[in-house]
Symmetry: C2
Subunit: 266 residues, 2 copies
Amino acid sequence: MDNRPIGMFDSGVGGMTVFLEVMKKFSNEDIVYLGDTKRFPYGSKSKETIIELSKKAIDFLISKNVKLIIIACGTATSQALEEVRKIYKIPIIGIIEGTIEELKKDTNNKIGVIATTGTIRTKAWENEIHNKIDSSYVISRACPLLAPMAEEGWTDNEVAKYTIKEYMKSFKGNNINKLILGCTHYPLFTNLIKEELGESVEIINTGEKLAKYLEKYLIEKNIKNTISKKGEYKLYLTDTECNFINVARKLINNEALIKKIEKIDI
Amino acid sequence: MDNRPIGMFDSGVGGMTVFLEVMKKFSNEDIVYLGDTKRFPYGSKSKETIIELSKKAIDFLISKNVKLIIIACGTATSQALEEVRKIYKIPIIGIIEGTIEELKKDTNNKIGVIATTGTIRTKAWENEIHNKIDSSYVISRACPLLAPMAEEGWTDNEVAKYTIKEYMKSFKGNNINKLILGCTHYPLFTNLIKEELGESVEIINTGEKLAKYLEKYLIEKNIKNTISKKGEYKLYLTDTECNFINVARKLINNEALIKKIEKIDI
């Protein structure tokens, strides 16, 4: 057992979709979240920059005495996870492995992937799918407008609706049965995506898969929190002139559990 | 007189709206254009990064033997112009000064400004307007989705239409008579903006104002091209996996004048 908090970070509100799933599944775990809102978006930055920013975020979370770190960001997972695992001793989990573990259980995978331009370019999802899942059927598409749109809070207006319509054209008629939301901002558009693709396509929320994977992980490593109480949440932002706080409050939906929202300089 | 080319740069296709205005006004000037498409967008990057990227761009253009450099990017103008002018001897012009010179001629300025998040945060436009124009009436709004949308080539679809509708809400009922397009990508949305704001608001294309300003500038400095011939254009991109080339070809509309499109590594 280890009663210290779980740490996680993202470039903005996206990682809060992962936060939500972890919070739902582990109601007694404390969470420290870092939103690097000053540097949003990560999706179009270089690999070197993403590694540097990930190191800053990890150093900060370690200073808050967390027991493990979740990279709650598709871009940072695909571009920096491998590198930072070489540098740090603390366990670090990205958003890809949990999803891959779950997909391995299915035999019929015809997969679509949407993510930021940076993630799509790395082919991180395609490579993992080809290497670890018995499926060579993958179609991917970069959706560079979705994360900035989520940061604006535009997830159910007309702009969002037509943007999803446009992006989903890549998957219509292509007979996929699963769509991986490879950027953690994208679950905020789940309803609109479902409307476009219909019920026959399963929408894969990587945060949900990560939470399942995390359960096994915490047990195996013997680091579950054993105290019976409500988890407490601390949110740190590198810039507060943004929509983050509104989205976070709406998702957590219990003001009493938010012990801190603080602007930090890293 | 100086018959060497004019150099200009931007993070992507935005600067091509400036290119177009300069090309129209000075049909015999050669132009070397650098689109730093690998690092797009500049709009959400830090001041330090913008200065560093601007220096790289300027060094490259100087290596192409240009006679002056136009920063055809609102973000780089607002964040880096002052710094790079301290470093380089070559004349460097941004997109703000030309517009300010033109607006000074009017007595009734009730100004709206739209630009990237980075530019709006610097208050570069507000400060210049307050300092140099007899008007204290300025309303500004960051429009972070417009430049990425232009890079996708989405300038007249339903997404663009509803995005403009949403952003223009900040100006409706606020009695502005001019709207400065403070990012060089934005003239690609001129028709949609006009539809929203109506004929009573003048849309200020900074590239057009810059071209007017440039005429005086070239004459004063005695560096106009005196050869009577069609200008020739060379386009350099740091990444070619993008929509740039299509947009550029459409704007220039004369394949014969494009002498080179080349991917470079800076």
